[in-house]
């Protein structure tokens, strides 16, 4: 049946909705008639890059997604893995880049809100938030304001809902000047046999709307362009989404309370493209039809059109299909929590989405073609060749290695992030065993001796220089950060942030990063269980550095056996696991002290990575090692300096025999390495050798200074000042 006509569908209207000529032809073919405006709007959001993954789908299929402990891989709201004791960890990372650039506080806040919903939708109580942030150059006029707003927004939302924000990453690079990255990750815990999915089933079952009312928030940008066919355009202008963390907190409690009752068949949060994508996805997965009466949808402003209601991105809303006759159980719970609750429709056997409003039909669309037959593109790719190696001999040594170290630990990318994490309540829920500042945060599984370790990682400069190496490195580093605290790495979520996929070099970066991630996932038994793609991060034809942010989760069976990075005492031996070859290409040293970004990134030897990591983890699990830090950006000397700063205890180091040139030993970024402080270093080295793992004695802890034979000495206090000063002084007091 043809729905009520609305505004005429002109070429401009189609273009404003981001549909190509081919795509529109497909719309006509599917419908056998011209769509009305509401229907066109629905097609446009369902087929947007964001919802349909049309450019990335082909490549995402390459990602390994299976392991015996994976309960649910990509495709649901979040990934689910078995963590033992009948429990599951549910997690995902998602970008809110563009909204955060427009309005940093609300953009970041609603990013956190959205990812929380993805996790509790599946029946998990959120237990931790993390994030991956990338900002423009510190001297760019917008950067300070963006940092301030984003951090406050993440804190403002997470603190209020009472989920600790326990970790993340934050870097600066001019490529993000016009396109910052705000990727938010949530980890939740659920009973492994009580996971909820977004599948609708049972003809006649009620479709229920809960949470906040629907307003004209963030309605698809296309409406702005469609102002000319509406004379009340000014008042109806789409608005920035504002987060309401208080309502989210109530929604979490209400949903989790409802999930303890046996009433939910399917549940889905309303994220991007709100009611449209949630209803289509639920129905599509269940192979059913839906009829919705839009007059029943709770709205904030009277006179909202069908188009607006379907495309609104108002926050803190969920859609559910309930078991028949159980509506009252649900209604009581939502009323207790003072949230809106409305039965807005039911499931049908037609396979169609029929929307009614004011007594008429305003849309009538077949669900499968929309949900599944969305366009898929095989976009051309151009590979980035591996840059030439830079030999250590061709990289000038600094006049003073310790002064270079001081400068590095006080640089924008390596300095302490305390200013950030102190604005996050990282302790609420009283299970944060390892607070921010270590390799991975550790959150205890409530009332148990088990813990979850988690981290986010990516080195975009490696990814830019050679995407496949960079992709593999990001996964390996996440794996290593989990290992360094003693956790068994289980799975990852990936947040792929790239430029315009219509450009072959960008698509090439994407494809190769995926290949690299695949290599590492396979070698490390570390599957991808959820993820997100954000394309078009570019301004004036200049893309961001390719940034496949990796969020990773691991498990520690016995929290008594874990490691931290602070030296626990003086007079311990310092041992380096893994080989130090002095690889300086793409290093922080070259970038920060020589202003050079050339060379190949350090190669990632996944076999050695695994061997080294498995050895370290076994030593921690056996209680032999309690102090460990992986070697990442900045190299070995920076790593040891971080261990010293965290404890206030110094160290004296001597280059082992056969080591590369001193500055290359100090600042080289060879992969697969860990620094460990133990009582009997020689014993550890021998044990490692037996296991086929490279290990070297590097020095001893003690005193208040850090010394490297032949390079001089610097006090730990001085390093600490450099490391702790940069960010707070950059942000100034009360920075606005």
């Amino acid at each position: 049946m043809s729905p009520r006509p609305e505004a005429p569908i002109t070429e401009e209207v189609i273009a404003a909705h981001g549909l190509s000529t081919d795509e529109y032809a497909r719309v006509l073919e599917i419908l056998g008639r011209t769509p009305n405006l509401t229907e066109l709007g629905i097609f446009s959001v369902m087929w947007s890059e964001h919802c349909s993954y049309k450019s990335s789908r082909k490549w995402l299929r390459r990602l390994p997604t299976e392991a015996p402990w994976v309960i649910c891989g990509p495709g649901e709201n979040a990934g689910v893995i078995d963590i033992g004791d009948g429990l599951a960890a549910v997690f995902k990372m998602e970008s809110h880049n563009h909204p955060s650039f427009i309005e940093p506080y609300q953009g970041a806040a609603t990013g956190v809100g959205g990812i929380l919903r993805d996790v509790f939708t599946m029946g998990a109580r959120p237990v931790a938030n993390l994030n991956a942030l990338r900002f423009g150059a510190p001297d760019h006029p917008k950067t300070r304001h963006l940092v301030s707003g984003v951090v406050a927004g993440i804190g403002g939302y997470g603190n209020c809902v009472g989920v600790p924000t326990v970790g993340g990453s934050c870097e600066f690079d001019p490529s993000y000047n016009g396109n910052i990255l705000v990727n938010a990750m949530t980890v939740g815990i659920a009973p492994a046999d009580r996971i909820f999915y977004a599948t609708a089933s049972g003809i006649g079952n009620p479709v229920v709307y809960v949470g906040s009312k629907t307003g004209r928030d963030g309605i698809h940008g296309a409406t702005m362009a469609s102002a000319e066919f509406d004379d009340t355009a000014e008042a109806k202008r789409p608005t920035v989404q504002v987060g309401d963390p208080f309502t989210e907190k109530l929604l979490i409690e209400a949903c989790l309370e409802l999930m303890r009752e046996d009433v939910i068949i399917g549940i889905q949060d309303m994220g991007a493209a709100g009611l449209t994508s949630s209803s289509f996805e639920m129905a599509g997965k269940g192979g059913v039809g839906v009829e919705i009466d839009l007059d029943q949808v709770p709205v904030r402003e009277a006179s909202m059109t069908a188009y607006e209601i379907m495309l609104s991105e108002s926050q803190e809303r969920m859609l559910m299909v309930l078991k028949p006759g159980r509506e009252d159980v649900a209604r009581r719970i939502f009323e207790k929590w003072e949230l809106d609750f409305a039965i807005i429709g039911q499931l049908t056997d037609t396979g169609r989405m029929v929307l009614r409003k004011d007594g008429g039909i305003v849309a009538d669309l077949p669900i499968d073609p929309l949900a599944d037959a969305a366009p898929v593109y095989d976009r051309p790719t151009r590979a980035t060749p591996l840059p030439a190696e830079v030999a250590a001999a061709d990289v000038p040594a600094p006049a003073d290695i310790m002064a270079a170290l001081e400068s590095l630990v006080g640089s924008p990318d390596l300095s302490s992030r305390r200013w950030i994490w102190e604005q996050y309540d990282h302790m609420v829920m009283a299970d944060t065993v390892a607070r921010p500042g270590g390799d991975a945060a550790i959150v205890r599984v409530h009332a148990s001796r088990r813990g979850l370790a988690m981290t986010t990682d990516c080195n975009p400069r490696y990814c830019y220089a050679h995407p496949r190496t960079g992709g593999a490195q990001a996964v390996a580093e996440a794996w290593r950060n989990l290992t360094a605290v003693g956790a068994k790495p289980l799975a990852i979520t990936d947040n792929m942030n790239f430029g315009n996929p219509e450009r072959p070099e960008i698509m090439g970066q994407f494809a190769d990063c995926i290949e690299g991630i695949r290599d590492a996932c396979l070698a490390l038994d570390f599957p991808v269980v959820s993820g997100n793609v954000s394309f078009y991060n570019e301004t004036n034809g200049k893309g961001i550095l390719p940034t496949p942010a990796i969020g990773a989760v691991g498990v520690i069976d016995n929290l008594e056996k874990r490691a931290g990075l602070a030296f626990p005492a003086a007079d311990l031996d310092i041992v380096v696991i893994g080989e130090s070859r002095g690889h300086l290409g793409c290093s922080a040293y070259m970038r920060h002290l020589l202003d050079r970004r050339d060379g190949a990134p350090p190669p990632v030897d996944l076999e050695a990575e695994r061997r080294n990591g498995d050895f370290v983890r076994a030593e921690i699990a056996a209680g032999n090692v309690t102090c460990c830090h992986d070697v990442s950006e900045g190299g070995l000397l920076v790593t040891v300096a971080e261990m010293a700063m965290a404890s206030g205890i110094g160290a004296s180091l001597t280059a082992p025999e056969g080591a590369p040139a001193l500055h290359a030993l100090a600042f080289g970024e060879d992969q697969g390495r860990y620094a460990i402080a133990v009582k009997d270093g020689q014993a550890l080295v021998s044990k490692a050798k037996t296991a086929g793992v490279a290990a070297t004695l590097l020095g001893r802890t003690g005193g208040g200074e850090l010394t490297l034979t032949g390079a001089g000495t610097i006090s730990v206090a001085r390093l600490r000042t450099a490391c702790e000063t940069w960010l707070p002084s950059y942000m100034g007091d009360g920075a606005a």
Partner: protein, 80 residues
């Protein structure tokens, strides 16, 4: 000269605080409260004495700092 600035949320922008205040007033027994919107009110003492220039200066302050013009409107009054 004293400037009084009202910063309010643009029409259509969700006001979680106003909403919560409305609910709280109702539960305190104040019936008949329809909608509540919360904004900011700023008073600034400024040295500028020329009204036109003062207005200009305060507008700039609003654009740059006092209001978040993506979601907020502002209105300026000057007392002398």
């Amino acid at each position: 000269m004293r400037a009084r600035v009202h910063v309010t949320l643009k029409q259509g922008v969700l006001d979680p605080q106003g909403k919560a205040i409305g609910t709280a007033l109702k539960s305190l027994g104040f019936s008949g409260v329809d909608e509540v919107r919360q904004g900011k009110f700023l008073e600034l003492d400024i040295a500028e004495t020329d009204p036109a220039k003062a207005h200009q200066q305060v507008s700039e302050m609003c654009e740059k700092l006092l209001a978040n013009t993506v979601i907020e409107d502002y209105a300026i009054e000057l007392d002398s």
